[in-house]
Symmetry: C4
Subunit: 273 residues, 4 copies
C-alpha cells in the first residue's frame, strides 16, 4: 500500500470525508446528526437509571438502546473500513471510546445485563468531544488551556499547600474532636477539612467542642481568603495570553506588549497596530 | 394615519410624554410613583404567600390587591391609548408583562383564584426594569453587560467543561455509592456533583464510602480551583472595556486614561472624547 | 470662649493630648491600654453568654464588669472634661458609642439586668476602631475603601441583579416545590435562593422534585459563575488605585499611568519615577 | 575547630553532601528515597487511625512502624554526626521535626502507647518540605509567597473587617434567634457567622425566624461579594510581581516582558537579566 495519507477518490474516500471531515456540507450534517444521537442516547442511559422511569418505560428503553447500538455499530464498522490504518484507529483514544459505546449492550445480551456494564454507556458522552472540532469555540478553549498550562506549576504548588493544610488540620481535628461528632479516623477528618476549606460544607461532619469550632473557623477563613491565589494566577495568565500585541515582521517573535514600538527579540521596528 | 412617530400636541401627546418619557419633571414623578406601586404590590404578593400572615390579614390583602389591579389597569389602558401603534405595544415584551400583571386578579374573580395564577403577579417585578431607564446606573450596567458579552464564548466553553465534569463524576459516583446515601439515580448523582462542584454543599446527599469521599474531595478541590477561570475571564474583560481612552493623533500612542487631555508619550493635545 | 481648637497648656490640655492624641509616648500608651481593656471586656461579655461558664464564674464576671464600667466611666467623664465642646462630643458617633458602653451596666443595676441590655455592651467593639488611628494600616484600609467607593455603582447594579434573580427563582421554586420540602412561602423560597446563589447551602431547605433540582442546579451554576463579576470589578479598581504613577509638578494632577512621560492634564513633562 | 563551613573531604563530608545536598546524583537519590519513606509512613499513620483497618492489620502496622522508626533514627543520628554544629541543628526547626518523627514510637514502647502520642507522627509530613528544595517548583512558590507578603497589610485589614463583621452579626443573631435554633451563646453565634460569611454553610445552626433569615441573607450576600476583595488584592500583586522585566539603560523605559532582549520603546539592547 502506498504511503499516501488520503485514500483514493472512491466511495471509501467519499465516506472518509463525510465521517471524519468537517469541510463539506455532508460532513458537517453527519457530525450534527451524530451529536444528536450521542446526546439522546446518553440522556436515555441517565433516565433509565431512575427506578420509577425504568419500571414504566423499561421496554421502550430496551428497544431504543438496541436501535442506538445498531446505529453506532454501523458507524464504528464504517470508520474501521474508511480509515487507512484500521488497527491504529481501533487502539486510538476515540477508537476505544467508540468501541466502549457499543460493547456493553452486546455483552448484556450475552451475559444478562450487569448493572455496572450498562452505566459504562455514559462514556458515549466523551464522543461528543470528537464532534466539537466542528465548532468555532476551539480557539477560545485553546486560549483557556494555554492560560492553565502556563500557570500549571503555580497551581501545583497551590494544590500541594492545600493538601498539606488539610492533612495537618484534619489530624489536629481528629485529636480535638470526638468520634461522635463524625471525626472517626484521620482520613475522615482530612475529608472534613477538604469539605470545609473548599467552602462546600456538607454538615454531615461538624465540630462540637469550642476548640474544634475555633479551628474550623480558622480553616474556613483560610479557605475563604486562599481562593484568591488560584484566581489571581489564572487572571494574570489570561490577561497575558489575551493581549498578544503586534508580531515582528523581521524575526516573527510574538508576545510583545500592546504598546511596544520595537521588537523585544531582534530590535526591528514593529508594525503599528 | 401619517407615519410620524410622535403624536400630535394634544392631551394624548402630553400623556405620552408623562407615561413613556423621563425628560420632563412630570414624567420622572410618574416613573417614581409607578416604581413604588410595583415594589409595594410585589411585596404584598410575597407576604400573602406566608400562611400565618394570610390567615390574619387575608381581607386587607384582597382589598389592596383590587386597588393595585385597578391602578395598573388604568395605566395599561392609558398606555394602549397614547402609543401610536397599540397592537405592537400589546405584543411587545413589556406589553405582555403589563398585561400579565393585571390578568391573574381578573381571572381569579371569575374562576375562584387558583394558587398558581396568583403567584404570576410576582412577574410585576419585571416591570421594575422598565422604570430603570430613569436611573443613571444604566451606563455601569452596560459596561458589565459588554464585558459579559465579550467573554460569552469563553464562558460557554467553561460551562460545557463544568457540565461534562459533573456528568462524568455524577455517573461514577452512582456506581461507587449506594442508593442509601442518596445516589438513587444518575440524574440525582449529577445533581449532587453540581451541588458539590459549585461549593454549595447542601449535605442531603453525601458520600459514605471511602472511595466516594475521595472522589468527592477531588471534585471539591476541582470546583474550588476552577472558579478562578470565569473570574479571570471577566476580570480581564472588565479591565479591557473599562479603559479604552483616547488615541493620540500626533504619535498614535494608545492606553491613555479615559480623562486624559494630553498625550502621555509626546505631550500633544488629545482629541476630546 | 475663644475659637481656638487646642485647649490652653494646662492639666486639661495635657490630658487632651494623652487621651485624644497619638503623637506623644503617653498618648500611644493610653491607646494601647484602652485597646486591651476594650478587647478583654468584649471577650468577657461573650464568655458570659455561654451558660456553662456563667453558671460557674457568674460572680467573677459581675465584679469584672463593674470594674470595667468604672474604668470606662472615668474615661468618658475625662473625655467630656478635656474636649473644647463637650456637647458636640457627646452627640458624635464615638461619643454615643462611648456612652452605650457604660450605660447598660448602670441600667441593669437599677432595673435588674435585662438580657438584651447586657448584650449591647458588645458595641464596645466599635470603640476599637477609634484606637485604630494609631496603626499604620490606615493607608491600606483607605486604598481598599477607595477601590470600593470607585466601584460602588457597578456593585449596586450587581446586587440589584442578584436580588432580581433570587426573587424570580424563589417565586418559581415556591410554585414548583411543595411546602414539605421547606418552601413554605415566597419569602422563605427567596431566602433559599439567596442561600443557594451565594453557594452557602445550609441544606435545611432543599428541593426534592426533579424540576426543582434542575432549577436549583441552574441557580447554583449561575451563582458559581456570577461571583466573577464583583471580583473582576474590584480587581480592576484595586489595580487602578494601586499604581498611582507620577504626580505633575506644574498642575498637581495625579492618576497618570506608571510609564507616562507627559502630564495628561496640562501636557507638562512629568518627573521621572 | 576551624570556622570553615564545609567539612573536610572525608567519609563524613561525603555523607554530608549526600544527606543535605541535592547537587550530586547520590544526594538526589537519597532525597527521593527519603520522600517516599516519609509519605508511606504518614499514610500508614493515617490508615492506622481507621478502626476497621487497625483491627485487621494491627500487627503489620506495628512492625512497619518499628522499621520506619529505626530508619528515621539512623538518618537522624547520621545528620547529627555529619553537620558541623550538631546542637544548632538539633534545635533548628527541621531538627525538632526530625526528632518528633521518631520520639513518639520510643515513648509508646516505654509508656504503653498513648493515643495522642501516636498521632504526632503525622508531623513527619512537615519533613516533606525539606525535600522540596529538590524540586524546581521553589521559584514559583517564592513568587506566590512574595505576592502574599507584599499584600499582607491589605489582607490583615481585610481579616480585621471580616472579624468585626462576624462578631457584630453574631451578637445580633444571638439576640434575634432562640437557643433552640442553635444560637446558644455569643461565641457559637460568631462561629455561625463565620460559617455563613465564608459561604461554608454547614446547616447545623440555621436561623428560623424571618428577622434572623433576613440578617442571614444580608451576611451571605456580603460574604459572596466581599470575596472579591482578597482576590483583587492578590491578583494585582501577582500581576505586579510576575512581570518586573529589565529596564532600558538608554531611554529608561520599564515594563518590558521578562524575556525581552531589545527595548520596546527605543530599540536599544536591554541588559541581560
Amino acid at each position: 500500500m502506498a504511503p499516501l495519507t488520503s485514500p483514493k477518490e472512491t466511495n471509501r474516500a467519499a465516506l472518509f470525508r463525510i465521517i471524519f471531515g468537517t469541510s463539506t456540507p455532508a460532513g458537517r450534517a453527519f457530525d450534527v446528526a451524530l451529536l444528536w444521537c450521542i446526546v439522546i442516547s446518553v440522556v436515555l442511559v441517565m433516565l433509565e437509571s431512575v427506578p420509577a422511569i425504568k419500571a414504566r418505560y423499561g421496554h421502550e428503553f430496551h428497544v431504543a438502546e438496541l436501535c442506538f447500538t445498531a446505529l453506532f455499530t454501523v458507524e464504528y464498522l464504517l470508520r474501521l473500513w474508511v480509515v487507512e490504518r484500521p488497527v491504529r484507529y481501533a487502539f486510538s483514544f476515540f477508537g476505544v471510546v467508540d468501541l466502549l459505546s457499543i460493547l456493553p449492550t452486546y455483552l448484556s445480551l450475552v451475559m444478562g445485563g450487569a448493572h455496572t456494564l450498562m452505566v459504562i454507556r455514559v462514556l458515549r458522552l466523551l464522543r461528543v468531544f470528537r464532534v466539537f472540532k466542528l465548532v468555532r469555540y476551539v480557539r477560545e478553549a485553546g486560549m483557556l488551556r494555554d492560560a492553565l498550562i502556563a500557570s500549571r506549576r503555580k497551581i501545583l504548588v497551590f494544590l500541594m499547600v492545600v493538601l498539606s493544610i488539610t492533612i495537618i488540620f484534619g489530624t489536629v481535628m481528629y485529636l480535638v474532636e470526638s468520634p461522635e461528632a463524625g471525626f472517626t479516623s484521620i482520613p475522615t477528618s482530612i475529608y472534613w477539612a477538604i469539605v470545609t476549606l473548599t467552602t462546600v460544607g456538607y454538615g454531615d461532619i461538624a465540630p462540637q467542642t469550642w476548640l474544634g469550632q475555633t479551628l474550623a473557623a480558622a480553616i474556613m477563613i483560610l479557605g475563604y481568603a486562599m481562593i484568591a491565589v488560584p484566581t489571581g494566577i489564572v487572571s494574570v495568565e489570561i490577561a497575558r495570553s489575551g493581549s498578544p500585541g503586534p508580531k515582528c515582521l523581521s524575526c516573527h517573535a510574538t508576545g510583545h506588549l500592546p504598546d511596544a514600538v520595537f521588537c523585544r527579540k531582534c530590535g526591528a521596528a514593529l508594525p503599528s497596530p
